[in-house]
Symmetry: C2
Subunit: 360 residues, 2 copies
C-alpha cells in the first residue's frame, strides 16, 4: 500500500528490465513519447520525465525529430579507465625492473596505461594501495605480487571487495590461499625440486636448505626441496633447514653464527633466492669457507646477482621476460573476457655456473 514510487519510475524500470532481458538492445529505437503515453496511461509530460531520468543515467539518447534511442552505455558497466595497475614488492632491485619493463611493453601496446605502486613487502602499504583502488575506482585491472604470502593476511578482505566489483586481478610470483583468483608464476615446487636434485646428482648427501618463512614461495620451494630429498632416499635433518624472514634478509650479518652452525655439517645448500645466496657467499668469505670446494651453493631466480656474483652462482632460472609478458597478456584478455582463465605456471630450468662442486 506504500505507493511511494513516482509514476514515471514505472517507465524507467520497464526500460531497464527490457534492456536486461535483451528485448531492447543497443541502438534500438524506443517507442515514441505519445505511444508510451498511451501504453502506460500517463501524460506525455510524465513520459518525458521518465525518459529524462534514463537520459541522465546514459541509458537512452534523444534525437529531436527522430526518436529516442538506447545507448551503448548500458547502465551496468562503468567507463574504462584504461589503467592497469602493477603492484610489486620492490622496484629498484633484483628481477623487478625487468619484469616491469616487459609488462609495460605489452600494456602500452594494447593501448592501456601502466600504473605502478610498491608495497616494500609490508602489509600497511599493501592495504593503503588496495584501499586507494577501492576508493577511487581508477583501474581496469590489477597485477599484484602478494605481500608476506606465507602468513595470514588481514588484507584478504580488500581483495574480496575488489573481486566483487569484478575488477580483474592476477597475482604474480605467488598467490594467497583461500582466494580464488588467477596467478602467473614459476612453479616454485619444481624450482625447489630441481635445485636439490642437481645437488644430489652431483653427489651431495648432506644438504642444507635456507628458506623464507613469511613468503609462500618459500613454502613451495621448501616443499620441492623435501620431495627431492625423500625420493632420493636421503634423511631429513630438521637442523639443516633454516627459516628466515623478510627482516632477516636485510640484516643477514645478525644471522651469521646461527646459519653457519647449522650448515657446517653439510656439503651443499639450497638457497631461497639469489639475494640470500649472495649473503651466504659473503658470509663464507668472511669465515674462510671456500665455495664450491667446502660448500656448494645453488640458488633460485637466476637474476643478475647470480650472474655477476664474485663466484658466479648456479641458479634455477626464473623466466623473467616471459613472466612479464605472459601476465600482461593475460590481463588484457581477462579485461576483455571476465571468464578467461588467466592462470599460468612456468616450468623453471637450471642455469649452471661455478658454485656447485661435483663430488667423487
Amino acid at each position: 500500500m506504500n505507493e511511494k514510487v513516482p509514476k514515471y519510475m514505472e517507465l524507467v524500470n520497464w526500460v531497464k528490465l527490457k534492456l536486461e532481458a535483451g528485448e531492447l538492445n543497443t541502438g534500438d529505437k524506443l517507442y515514441s513519447e505519445n505511444q508510451l503515453s498511451k501504453m502506460f496511461s500517463m501524460s506525455r509530460q510524465t513520459v518525458r520525465h521518465g525518459i529524462s531520468k534514463l537520459e541522465q543515467e546514459g541509458i537512452v539518447e534523444r534525437i529531436q525529430g527522430s526518436g529516442t534511442y538506447l545507448c551503448n552505455k548500458g547502465m551496468v558497466k562503468q567507463p574504462k579507465t584504461l589503467n592497469i595497475a602493477v603492484v610489486t614488492t620492490y622496484v629498484d632491485r633484483y628481477i623487478f625492473p625487468n619484469v616491469i619493463k616487459e609488462m609495460e611493453k605489452v600494456i602500452s601496446s594494447a593501448g592501456y596505461f601502466t600504473q605502478i605502486a610498491f608495497t616494500y613487502n609490508t602489509l600497511e602499504r599493501e592495504r593503503a594501495i588496495l584501499q586507494k583502488f577501492l576508493d577511487h575506482n581508477i583501474v581496469d585491472g590489477i597485477i599484484i605480487e602478494p605481500t608476506k604470502s606465507g602468513l595470514p593476511n588481514p588484507n584478504i578482505e580488500l581483495y574480496r571487495q575488489l573481486k566483487r566489483r569484478k575488477i580483474p586481478i592476477i597475482f604474480i610470483n605467488c598467490y594467497y590461499p583461500n582466494l580464488d583468483l588467477p596467478h602467473v608464476a614459476m612453479d616454485d615446487r619444481i624450482a625447489g625440486l630441481l635445485a636439490v636434485n642437481h645437488l644430489i646428482e652431483a653427489g651431495h648427501k648432506r644438504i642444507a636448505g635456507i628458506f623464507k618463512a613469511d613468503d609462500r614461495q618459500g613454502h613451495f620451494r621448501y616443499t620441492g626441496f623435501i620431495k627431492g630429498l625423500l625420493s632420493a632416499g636421503l634423511d631429513i635433518h630438521d637442523d639443516h633447514i633454516i627459516w628466515i624472514d623478510t627482516e632477516d634478509t636485510n640484516h643477514m650479518e645478525d644471522n651469521e653464527s646461527r646459519i653457519l652452525n647449522r650448515i657446517k655439517d653439510c656439503t651443499a645448500s639450497v638457497c631461497y633466492n639469489d639475494e640470500v645466496a649472495v649473503s651466504i657467499v659473503e658470509m663464507c668469505k668472511r669465515n674462510k669457507i671456500s665455495i664450491p670446494q667446502q660448500l656448494s651453493i645453488i640458488s633460485i631466480d637466476d637474476s643478475d646477482l647470480a650472474a655477476y656474483c664474485e663466484i658466479p652462482l648456479t641458479s634455477i632460472a626464473y623466466p623473467i621476460k616471459e613472466l612479464g609478458e605472459k601476465v600482461a597478456t593475460n590481463m588484457i584478455q581477462l579485461i576483455q573476457n571476465y571468464n578467461f582463465d588467466a592462470n599460468y605456471d612456468f616450468i623453471p630450468t637450471i642455469s649452471m655456473r661455478d658454485s656447485v662442486r661435483r663430488l667423487r
Copy 2:
C-alpha cells in the same frame, strides 16, 4: 537576432556567471523556484527545467522541502584523475629504477597514482605516449625525460598542446630548448667542468672527452669540459673529442678502433656517463691498456655501474634520490598552484674511486 537559445538557458547561464563572478558560492542557497519564476518572468516549470540542467551538470543540488543549493563541483575544473605520469627513456638499468622508486614514494604519499611509460629514447614512442595523454586526458601532471634532446624534435608541438591544456609538465634530467617548461636536473655544465678540473688538478694535460651527440646533456657536459680546458689554459684538440650517439652505445665494439686511435695520445678521458666509461674500461682491457696507469678515466652519473665496475670508477655524482624526490614534490606543488616555479638544478659533487691516477 538569432534568438535560438531556449528561455531556460537564461537562468542556467545566469547561475554560471554568478558562480564565476563569486557572487554565488559553494553551499549557498539559490532563490526559490517561485522567486526565480518572478525574477526571470518565466513559469515555474521553465525555472525547474533550467535547474534540472544545472543539476545534471552537477552545479546545484535540490533538497525537497529545503531548497536548491550550489554544489562544490564547480563546473570549471574537470575532475582530477589522480594520475601523475612518469615517462623515462629506460626502466631496467642505470639510475632509472632508483629514480622511479623515489618518485613513487612521494607521489603515492601525496595521494596520487604513478603512471609509467618508457620511450627507449625513440621519437616514435615519445610521440605515441604524448598523443595518448592528449587523447585520453587521463593525467594531472607529467614528469618526463626528453628523448634525443640534442636533436630537433618533431614532437615539440605535442608538448605545446599539453601546455595549452594547462597540464603541468616537468622535465627531468634534461629539457628541450625553445619550450618554456620547468625542469629538475643536475647542472650538466658543472658536471663536465668538475670532471675535467679533477683531471687537470691531478696533473693531466692531454685529456680526451667522449660525449653523446643526440642528447643535450651531452652538449652541456661538453660545454663544461671545454670551459675547464680553456680556463686552465690548455689547448683544445678536436680529435680528442669523440661524439657518439644512442645507437653507438649499444654497439661500442664497432667504435673500438675509432675511439682508441683518437685517445692514444691522451693520459686521461672524461666519459659522458658510466655506461660509456664501462665500455671504455672493457675496451682497454681487451687492448692491454691499463687503467689508471696508462689511462685515467672519470665518468659522470655515479651509478651502480661506477661503484661495482672491475676498476671502481671516479665519477661525478648524480643526486639520484634527491632528484626523484625533488621532481615529484615540485609536481605536487605545481598541480596545486599552476604558477609555482618548479625549476631546480642540482650542483653535482665528485665520488672519488680508483680510475684516476695522480701524475708526478
